[in-house]
Structure formats: C-alpha cells, structure tokens
C-alpha cells in the first residue's frame, strides 16, 4: 500500500471515529432525557397515589363533583397505559384543581388529616417541579447540541429528533372558579 493509501485510510479512520464519538454523545444525551423523564413519572405516580386519600378527605366536608374524580381516574389509567407525560400533566392539572377547591373550604383546612395530606402533596409537588426542571435542562442541552452545526447534519443523518420542553401547566394559566 502506497503513502496515498495510508493517508486515505487514516482520514477515513478519523472520520469514522469522529462519527462514533458524536453518535455516542447524542445517545448519552437522549438517555439522560429518558432518565429525567422517568424521574417525573416517579413523582407523578407518588402524587397520583394520594388521589384516593384526597377524595376521602373532601367527601366528608364538601360536595365535590363525583365527575371530577371519575375524570381523574380515567386520565390516570390513560397515563398508565401510554406513560405520556402530557397526559400525566393533565391528570396533575385536574388533581390540582380538586386540591384548590378543597383548600378553599375552611372546615377542611382545619382537618388534621387534610393538613398532613397537604404537606405530603406540597413535598411531592416541589420534587415534581424540580424533576421538570432537570428534564427541561437535559432537553435544552440535547436540543442545542443537535441543532447546531455540524451536529445538525449528523443528528439528522442518525435520526435524532428534537424533544419537547415542558410548558407551564394549563391550570396555572386559568383562573380557577371555586364553587362549593
């Protein structure tokens, strides 16, 4: 093999090595997103597990709509089937509405059972909020990496697509009408 052949082979070797490194970086960044997504799932489930407790609490004090609970249960089973985080956030949003209604009831606010439940919910909500921020941070890093040159071309070549960021929950944008 002549000098030219060695040079061409070396260049090819460097290019392949570069592509392997780049591919591995994209994969590790995508795995980080998956990991942080599963973190959100853990906290969402912890929160949803408290739904029956909240409903039990509310029952004794307020005339809550049974439809609300049915809706939450339905949404939760949809979430459990697909593990779609958007669905999960929808359940959470409904759950928060129910919580907001409960919090406006003075009798309920004085209940020890409700206070303890509220504490647990606040703790999980903080963790959920933090998990969302971790997820958004990982998604931002991944999206920035695959949308800048030359990664833009390579990522497309390897089939890596941009991931969606978490937006502010819908219920926080709305004005909640409390009617007990």
């Amino acid at each position: 093999m002549g000098t030219a052949g060695i040079v061409i082979l070396s260049i090819l070797g460097i290019i392949i090595l570069f592509l392997i490194i780049k591919f591995n970086i994209y994969v590790s960044l995508r795995n980080k997103i998956k990991q942080s997504k599963s973190g959100i799932d853990v906290y969402l489930n912890q929160r949803f597990d408290l739904i029956p407790n909240l409903v039990e609490c509310v029952k004794g004090y307020a005339n809550y709509e049974s439809q609300t609970f049915a809706k939450i249960t339905e949404l939760r089973s949809e979430y459990d089937n697909g593990k779609n985080l958007k669905k999960g956030e929808e359940v959470n949003s409904e759950f928060n509405k129910l919580l907001a209604i409960s919090e406006s009831n003075p009798n309920l606010k004085a209940s020890e059972q409700f206070i303890n439940l509220q504490k647990s919910l606040t703790k999980i909500e903080n963790q959920l909020q933090a998990a969302r921020r971790v997820y958004n941070g990982d998604v931002t890093l991944y999206n920035t990496t695959i949308s800048t040159f030359p990664d833009l071309i390579l990522a497309k070549l390897f089939g890596f697509k941009e991931e969606e960021l978490f937006e502010i929950e819908e219920y926080k944008k709305e004005n909640i009408n409390i009617d007990l």
């Binding site: 590790s28 973190g39 971790v134 941070g137």
Partner: protein, 305 residues
C-alpha cells in the same frame, strides 16, 4: 440583591468610619512623624560623617546602615498600624454584617480541615491561613472562614548542577467550612465552568443560561439539587461572580459544607490609599457579604430537603 448590599454597606461604612477614623488617622500621622524625625536625624548623621572621615566608603556604609534603620522602623510601625487596622476596621466590618460573628486576625483554618474538602487536585507543599471569621448562621450552623494560601515548590536543576526553587501559588483566597446540623441526603459540588465536565454523567444542566456560563453543578441526586437551587439562589451565585469577579466553589458531603473563592490578599490596609477609602472597604465587604449570603441561603434550602 445589589440594592440590599448597597443599603447594608452604606450603614456599615458610616459606622466603621465614625468608630475608626480618628484612631487610624492618629496612628498614621504618628507613624509619619516618627519616620520624618528618624529621616532627618539620619540625614544629619550622613552629612556630618563625610567631613569627619573624608572617605567615600565610610559614607556609603553609613548610608546603607541608615536605609536599613529607616526600613526597619517603617516595617515595625507599619505592622502596628496593620494590627490596629485589622482589630478596629475589619472587626467593625464583620460585626456590622452580623453582630454575632467574630473576627480573629491571627486565627486560621487548619491544614487538615482544608484537605478534608479535597478542593486541590494538585499536591501543594506550603499552607498558610489567617484572618478568620467565625460565627453561627441564622439557621443555627457553626461556620468559619479564613484566608488560605497554598503553594507548590518546584525544584529545578541548573546546568551548573545547582538547584533552584520557584514558588507556584495553587490557591489564594477565602476558604470556609460549615458544620451542618443534619446529614444532607445528597452530594453537591459547584465549581467554575469547565468544558471537560460538560458531558459528565452527574452534571446537572441548570435552567439559567447565565449560571451555566459561570458554574458547573455535579451531584448524585439531580432532583434534590434542583430543589436546593431555586431561581433566587441561582441569582445569588450570579451576583457573586458579577460583584467579586470570582466564582464560588462549594462542596456538600454528609454533614459538612466547604466553600472557597479566589481573591487577592484580604483584610490588609491599603499601601497608598486612605485606610478608610470607601471603595476599598466596599471591596472587602463584598468578599464577606456575597459568599455568606450564598452560604446562608444554600444551607436554608438544604435544611428543607
């Protein structure tokens, strides 16, 4: 945060000035008087020596001796002034920030305590520590911080076979330790931004571009770290770098927190300025205020975990 700093500083500066200005001025003018008198005496002696001995070598010798005497007196008087500056001005500054904190110009943090933090990956030969501030945070944790200098001695062999030594400063700045009241369930390491850590497995991508520009956060529990690093705390870390031109490095493990930040020699009186120069005192106050605000908030947030 900057507004709070300015308000707090204005009040403290006025207090420090009213307490210390007279004593400092008196000490400085007494130093100058003594030096002037000694200088005049030495000039007279030197002028008289030449006609008596009529020898250039004797005159040169007398001049050198005079210079040594003058420098020695200056150094002695200056160290007294420095002592006074530290005891009065810096103590008032520290007490102004928090009345319960103490300042000890000659106290320092032990080398073994500095090593516990494992901040320096590089080995160092010499360790020096002074200017200690200690106290109890509002949330009840004891802390201490002091100036630390670590140096590495490099030995070279010259071509003629002799050895030459050079000093390399590894770290110069403030180092501190906080004894946390409870064991913290996560490990945290905040350090200045480094390209090497960008893709590290344990690195957390924070949701502030400005924070990301200056710092790297590594932890074994990202969610808990995010609970600690809320937007108001992130703002404090950014304010630190904007105002002190240095980032703070922080480590949390079990029930200990270590922190350090680089800066030039601290709490020394200025060489060519008035000791109570407002900008100069402000520079020292920034070195106390911003890091302690970060430490206080970080500890409070960690206690909530």
């Amino acid at each position: 945060m900057e507004n709070e700093f300015e308000e707090s500083f204005e009040k403290i500066y006025n207090d420090v000035y009213s307490k210390c200005s007279e004593n400092l001025k008196a000490e400085k003018s007494s130093n100058n008087k003594i030096l002037l008198i000694v200088l005049l005496i030495l000039i007279v002696i030197n002028v008289c020596i030449y006609p008596v001995f009529k020898s250039g070598i004797v005159s040169l010798f007398a001049f050198v001796i005079s210079m040594i005497i003058l420098i020695t007196i200056h150094v002695i008087r200056n160290s007294q002034y420095k002592k006074m500056y530290k005891t009065e001005v810096i103590t008032s500054l520290v007490k102004g920030y928090n009345d319960t904190y103490d300042y000890n110009a000659y106290g320092g943090i032990l080398r073994s305590e500095y090593n516990m933090a494992k901040f320096d990956s590089m080995y160092y030969d010499e360790y020096f520590s002074e200017d200690q501030i200690n106290g109890t945070l509002d949330s009840g944790e004891n802390f201490k911080m002091s100036e630390v200098v670590t140096k590495k001695i490099n030995r070279y062999r010259e071509s003629d076979g002799s050895y030459r030594e050079t000093e390399e400063v590894i770290f110069r700045g403030i180092f501190g330790k906080v004894d946390l009241k409870k064991e913290i369930p996560i490990k945290i390491h905040v350090s200045s931004n480094s390209a090497f850590r960008k893709f590290s497995k344990d690195r957390v991508e924070m949701d502030s571009a400005e924070f990301e520009k200056y710092y790297d956060c590594v932890t074994d529990d990202k969610v808990k770290l995010m609970q600690v690093f809320t937007s108001d705390l992130i703002e404090k870390y950014i304010a630190m770098i904007k105002n002190n031109k240095h980032s703070i490095e922080l480590k949390v493990e079990d029930n200990l927190m270590f922190f350090r930040y680089g800066c030039q020699s601290v709490f020394e009186p200025p060489a060519f300025k008035d000791g109570l120069d407002k900008d100069f005192i402000k520079k020292y106050y920034k070195l106390i205020y911003y890091p302690l605000e970060i430490i206080k908030s970080t500890v409070e947030k960690m206690n909530e975990l």
